[in-house]
C-alpha cells in the first residue's frame, strides 16, 4: 500500500560548496533517523570544481595557482562520477531521499535524475537524451548538458545533478569534463539561443516537473 510522502524543497540561491556539503551531511543523518522527510535542495554554486571518490586529478588541466587566479575552488568529494564544474547559472538539485522507501536502486534513481533533466530540456524545445553505457548524464547530440554525481549512504541519497542553463562554458576548458575527452559541453542557452535563459526561472516550475516521480 502506497503511503503519501512529503518532499520538502529548499530554494537556496547561491551557496558555497563546502557549506552545501555540511548541510547535506546533516540532512542525510536526519533523514536516516526519520527526523525529516525527503528533502530537495535547489541551488547554484560559485565557481567550483569538484572531484568524485575516485579522485581523478589527472582530469584537472590547470594548476592550483591558476585556479586561485580565476577565483575558483576545488573540492574532493565522496560522490560517484568524475571531475566537473559548477558555477553561476548552472542549476543544481541535491535530493536527500530514502531510496529504500521508494524501492529504488542506484541505477533506477540515476535514470530518473536523467529523465528529470531530459524533461526540463524538452520544455524549452531541446531534444536531450541519456548517455550511452558508461556516459551517465544528459546529452544533446555529442554535447553534455547535464551531469550527475550521487552518493548513497544507508540508502539515503546526497549530491545529485547539475544542469547547464547558462553557465560560462569556458570554465569547462580547464578540465576533461566527467573524464570524457572527445565530447563537448553545452547549455540550454547555447541550444536555444534564448536571451532570457536565467536560472531563476528554473527554480520555478521547470525544475520540479521532472521530479514528480519522487511524490
Amino acid at each position: 500500500m502506497r503511503v503519501a510522502r512529503c518532499l520538502e524543497v529548499w530554494k537556496m540561491g547561491t551557496i558555497n560548496y563546502l557549506e552545501s556539503i555540511k548541510l547535506q551531511k546533516k540532512l542525510v543523518s536526519d533523514r536516516k533517523t526519520n527526523k525529516i522527510s525527503d528533502t530537495l535542495l535547489s541551488l547554484q554554486h560559485p565557481l567550483t570544481y569538484t572531484l568524485g571518490k575516485r579522485r581523478t586529478d589527472h582530469n584537472m588541466l590547470i594548476p592550483m595557482s591558476q585556479l586561485k587566479k580565476i577565483g575558483a575552488e576545488l573540492h574532493y568529494t565522496q560522490r560517484g562520477g568524475d571531475i566537473t564544474f559548477h558555477g553561476p547559472h548552472q542549476a543544481i538539485l541535491y535530493p536527500i531521499i530514502s531510496l529504500r522507501e521508494i524501492g529504488l536502486g542506484a541505477r533506477n534513481y540515476v535514470e530518473k535524475l536523467e529523465l528529470t533533466m531530459i524533461e526540463l530540456a524538452s520544455l524549452y524545445g531541446v531534444k536531450a537524451c541519456a548517455g550511452q553505457k558508461g556516459e551517465t548524464g544528459v546529452w544533446v547530440g555529442e554535447r553534455k548538458i547535464g551531469a550527475i554525481g550521487v552518493q548513497i549512504s544507508n540508502g539515503i541519497t546526497s549530491h545529485g545533478l547539475a544542469f547547464n542553463i547558462d553557465p560560462d562554458l569556458n570554465y569547462f576548458k580547464h578540465i576533461v569534463p566527467c573524464g570524457i575527452a572527445d565530447k563537448g559541453v553545452t547549455s540550454l542557452r547555447k541550444e536555444t539561443g534564448l536571451e532570457k535563459c536565467k536560472s531563476q526561472r528554473w527554480e520555478g516550475q521547470g525544475s520540479f516537473k521532472g521530479l514528480q516521480w519522487l511524490c
Partner: protein, 163 residues
C-alpha cells in the same frame, strides 16, 4: 501556492502511470530474486550476504544488489586488520556515477580483502556470490548471525522492497 497545486496534480497523474509500471516489475524482480538467492548464506537488509565457514566469514553484496546498482566501475576497499561493526560501512562501490556504501552484516576484524576487485570491479556484477566476494572477517560475535535473514526471508524482503 499555484506551484503546489500543479505539482500535486502531476504527482497524482504520475501515481497512476507509476502504479501501472509497477505491475510489470514484481514478477520480474520476484523471479530474479528467487532464482539468485543462495542457500547456506545469511542476508542483511542492506543487501549484503555473509557465509560463515569455521573461523572466517566471507562477505559480499547480493545479486539483487548488483542488479539494482548497475555496472560496478570502482570498489573502495578497506585495509586488512580494520574492525567492522554490524551494520557499519566498510567500503563503497561506484556504478552509474553513484557511490553506494557497503555495510558489514557482522562485527569482527577484516582478515582478507578481495584485491582482484581493484582491477576487475565487474566481478561483483558477474559473480556476486563467488569471485565478487569483498572481504573476509574473523567474527567477534557469532551470535549476530542469528539476527540476519535466511534465504526465504531475504527473497520475500526483496519482493516487498521492489513493491
Amino acid at each position: 501556492m499555484a506551484l503546489g497545486m500543479w505539482a500535486s496534480s502531476t504527482a497524482n497523474a504520475l501515481r497512476i502511470s507509476y502504479a501501472s509500471k509497477a505491475h510489470l516489475s514484481p514478477a520480474f524482480s520476484f523471479s530474479r530474486c528467487f532464482s539468485t538467492v543462495l542457500d547456506g548464506l545469511k542476508y542483511a537488509s542492506s543487501h549484503e550476504w555473509v557465509k560463515h565457514e569455521g573461523p572466517v566469514a566471507t562477505i559480499g553484496i547480493t545479486d539483487h544488489a548488483q542488479d539494482h546498482l548497475g555496472e560496478v566501475v570502482f570498489v573502495d576497499l578497506p585495509e586488512t586488520g580494520v574492525a567492522v561493526t554490524q551494520g557499519g560501512s566498510f567500503g563503497a562501490v561506484e556504478s552509474v556515477k553513484a557511490t553506494s556504501d557497503v555495510n558489514s552484516p557482522i562485527s569482527g576484524e577484516i582478515v582478507e580483502v578481495n584485491t582482484k576487485l581493484s582491477e576487475t570491479p565487474g566481478l561483483i556484477n558477474s559473480s556476486p556470490y563467488e569471485d565478487g566476494w569483498i572481504i573476509k572477517v574473523k567474527p567477534s560475535s557469532p551470535s549476530e548471525l542469528g539476527s540476519l535473514m535466511g534465504p526465504k526471508e531475504y527473497t520475500k524482503f526483496c519482493e516487498e522492497e521492489d513493491h
